[in-house]
């Protein structure tokens, strides 16, 4: 039963005669049809955009993934050759490893840091709005600017980070030139822009009922116990959202490693020993540098299925750890 059928779209009048009911019913149907028409009309820009720029390309890429296609000539059907080629491609495995490494450390650490920041921003202190603005500020700076600033900050020889590290007598890492340090460098840059996540957490923290805190305090619960038994369960729905969104963002990471590694236009550099080669970068290189559109499409579909499976697992597991207040 549709919403329109269950809920009257206009207030019905009890003063009308019983005999008017059939006409009233057909009137409602006409109104419902008209509303549906207008609804579709207003949504049409998005619908057209979705079909033209997302729906059709998705279908096209599924088709291309079974072809050899260089963008300029007609695609040639090759069956599952692109998918079987993946299995013998060492750069594919490298890209998968790098991407999962970043996601494995980036998602939990990023969320933990954002939550810690949100908890700090939730403390009632003087100048709190200013602190919130400062924390959020890095997220509104264009990524390309952020990365180019960090390229210099992380410069092994002249960078501020290494200067600071050496003053306390620690080893100066080759952040962008040693395969062991390039991924931590990407993570650091990512953490610099967790203000957006922190703000969402802050909104969730504001929703935690104050009376629960008061009651727990009366019962003698300290800050840790209050966080463990009151705050954390209350913010698990938001955490679920953040986990899914962050995981997808990390699995599709492109801009930061691309800008850190690129030395020139159309460059296929991916950092020392391909240590910054993320999955999305490899898709891009195959599509637009090597012009292997078929292979790139196969890569994209594998990533899509991976994301789908992981998201499904997370949502399934959420029944055990997410609390919706009921």
């Amino acid at each position: 039963m549709s919403i329109q059928a269950r809920l009257p779209l206009r207030p019905s009048s009890s003063t009308k005669a019983e005999g008017a009911a059939p006409q009233q019913g057909s009137g409602r149907r006409r109104t419902a049809r008209r509303d549906q028409k207008y609804g579709l009309l207003f949504a049409s820009p998005w619908l057209i955009g979705f079909v033209a720029f997302i729906g059709l390309p998705i279908i096209a890429s599924a088709f291309y993934s079974f072809t050899s296609f260089n963008l300029f000539q007609s695609p040639e059907f090759v069956g599952f050759a692109n998918y079987s080629q993946l299995l013998a491609d060492d750069r594919f495995y490298k890209a998968v490893f790098n991407t999962f490494f970043l996601a494995l450390f980036g998602v939990p650490l990023g969320l933990a840091l954002a939550l810690a920041l949100a908890l700090l921003l939730n403390v009632n202190v003087k100048g709190q709005p200013l602190y919130r603005a400062v924390i959020y500020l890095p997220t509104i700076i264009p990524t390309i600017v952020v990365v180019y600033v960090w390229r210099w900050l992380l410069n092994a020889q002249y960078g501020f980070i290494n200067e600071a590290i050496s003053t306390i007598g620690l080893h100066r890492p080759l952040w962008l030139d040693d395969p062991m340090w390039t991924k931590p460098a990407i993570l650091i840059i990512g953490f610099w822009t967790i203000g957006g996540t922190a703000v969402i957490y802050l909104a969730a923290l504001k929703e935690v009922p104050a009376e629960l805190h008061e009651a727990a305090k009366v019962d003698g619960a300290g800050p840790f116990l209050r966080f463990r038994h009151i705050v954390w369960p209350a913010i698990t729905p938001v955490t679920l959202f953040q986990v899914v969104v962050s995981l997808i963002a990390y699995l599709q990471m492109f801009t930061q490693p691309y800008l850190l590694a690129q030395e020139g236009r159309n460059d296929v550099g991916a950092g020392p020993n391909d240590s910054m080669l993320t999955y999305a970068m490899y898709v891009y290189q195959n599509a637009f540098v090597y012009l292997k559109m078929g292979y790139a499409s196969a890569l994209a579909w594998v990533l899509f299925i991976l994301i789908l499976v992981l998201t499904f697992i997370i949502l399934k597991s959420s029944k055990r750890w997410v609390h919706y207040g009921n």
């Binding site: 100066r172 030139d177 012009l291």
Partner: protein, 432 residues
């Protein structure tokens, strides 16, 4: 209501009139171009090089009654590719490196020029042969070279003098002996000056490998074969003189402080590296960006046991081409012929200190106005030891992989042997 059909009629008339104006523009040249046929020349050069090309465009336009060229500096290879993939072209003539010709031609996006060459009896014999060879794919000519590039050894005279070295090296052995003397470290062991810097690893490596007797192709130019004694010797040279004695970590730390290559921060201009291998365009770059640099250029040193290899270098080239989706191919060909005429070609290659692709221009007095270092590059064209990577569809991929693998030597991740083996395995998948 009678006003709606009336309005519709007016709208229809206006739309038809607008369409007619647009169509007339398409059919007989752009009215803004004064009735002449407008063609778009999209070039990858920017900055001073782009300005020099823009001057040629202006000169051509002044001399023309039928064609007007709109020059667009668009240094974006991706954009160039995208624009060539549509049914209607966004430009009518453009440029690229010679090694990209076979790759683009194999995808059907370049217009074969044979018909035009035959129709106008255009003489190609004046163009340098290795460069012309790269413009031919599957028996057809798809591009014409404008400039060629050879690589020579550039050295900082001041740094050599400080190290007590009076003459630049002529043999690999002399050079290998000099590199440690030209490398400086501070008290903590950090490198402050490197005797030999590979700022563009593939470029240096390919020329050095040819010098060591190496090759990148198997018999009959049919398949890539990068793993041989010559390529091994070239990698060993860098590994033994730079990486091994200083440590990959310290070399990487030092190189991480290098500035942008096309800026005054270039490590050679700043005295961070004493010797390196590069092309003739550096002569103009140095004149503009580091006019006080005291430097010299000599041919890449040859092995003492192989004096016959003197003058060896990789030769690459830059080309003009017409995309197959050009709307005005005849006009684009006319403009290409103008660009390749001796005077404009001489003016442009001189402005960017590139070696002209025409042999008849090689000794033209126009180039005597360039700094004396240019002459070493000019002389290199007469060498019989110039070599190039053959024109094959996957040449660009091969170059990209060279860079990726060479990085592993620089970072100490792989030995030269491991790098060449990996490169060989990777090359085995080309075209699949």
């Amino acid at each position: 209501m009678s006003t709606t059909p009336k309005k519709l009629r007016y709208a229809g008339v206006a739309a038809t009139a607008g369409l007619a104006v647009l169509l007339s523009g398409c059919a007989s040249g752009n009215p803004a171009a004064g009735g002449k046929t407008e063609i778009v020349f999209s070039y990858l050069w920017g900055g001073a090089e782009g300005d020099a090309l823009a001057e040629l465009v202006d000169d051509f336009n002044e001399s023309q009654d039928d064609i007007v060229v709109k020059g667009v500096s668009s240094p974006d290879v991706q954009k160039q590719l995208t624009q060539m993939s549509s049914s209607k072209g966004a430009f009518d003539i453009s440029d690229n490196f010679g090694y990209a010709t076979a790759s683009l031609a194999s995808k059907g996006v370049l217009e074969p020029l044979d018909e035009y060459i035959e129709r106008d009896d255009y003489d190609l014999s004046d163009f340098i042969k290795p460069a012309m060879d790269q413009a031919v794919y599957d028996g057809k000519t798809y591009a014409i070279p404008l400039g060629v590039h050879t690589h020579q050894l550039m050295y900082n005279k001041t740094l050599l003098a400080e190290a007590g070295i009076t003459e630049p090296p002529t043999t690999i052995e002399e050079w290998a002996e000099m590199i440690p003397k030209l490398t400086k470290k501070d008290e903590a062991g950090n490198i402050t000056q490197l005797g030999y810097g590979q700022v563009d690893a593939p470029r240096s490596f390919v020329s050095l490998a040819f010098m060591m007797g190496g090759s990148f192709w198997g018999e009959g130019d049919e398949a890539p074969a990068p793993n041989n004694d010559g390529t091994q010797a070239a990698l060993d040279f860098y590994y033994d003189t730079v990486i091994e004695p200083n440590g990959a970590d310290r070399v990487q730390t030092f190189m991480s402080g290098f500035g942008e290559l096309y800026s005054p921060e270039h490590p050679f201009y700043k005295g961070q590296i004493a010797t390196h291998i590069d092309g003739a365009n550096q002569v103009t770059m140095i004149e503009q960006l580091a006019p006080d640099l005291d430097y010299g250029v000599v041919p890449i040193p040859h092995p003492e046991a192989h004096p016959e290899r003197a003058g060896t270098s990789e030769i690459t080239n830059s080309t003009y081409f017409i995309p197959s989706n050009s709307k005005h191919k005849d006009e684009a060909w006319e403009f290409m012929k103008y660009l390749l005429d001796n005077e404009p070609l001489g003016n442009f290659t001189k402005a960017i200190s590139n070696l002209p692709a025409r042999q008849s221009l090689a000794s033209d007095p126009i180039y005597s106005e360039l700094p004396e270092q240019y002459q070493v590059f000019a002389d290199s064209l007469s060498s019989e030891n110039l070599a190039s990577i053959p024109a094959v569809p996957w040449a660009a991929e091969y170059r990209a992989d060279l860079k990726l693998e060479l990085d592993k030597v620089n970072t100490g991740q792989s030995t030269p042997e491991e790098v060449l083996k990996a490169l060989e395995e990777r090359a085995g998948n080309y075209g699949k």
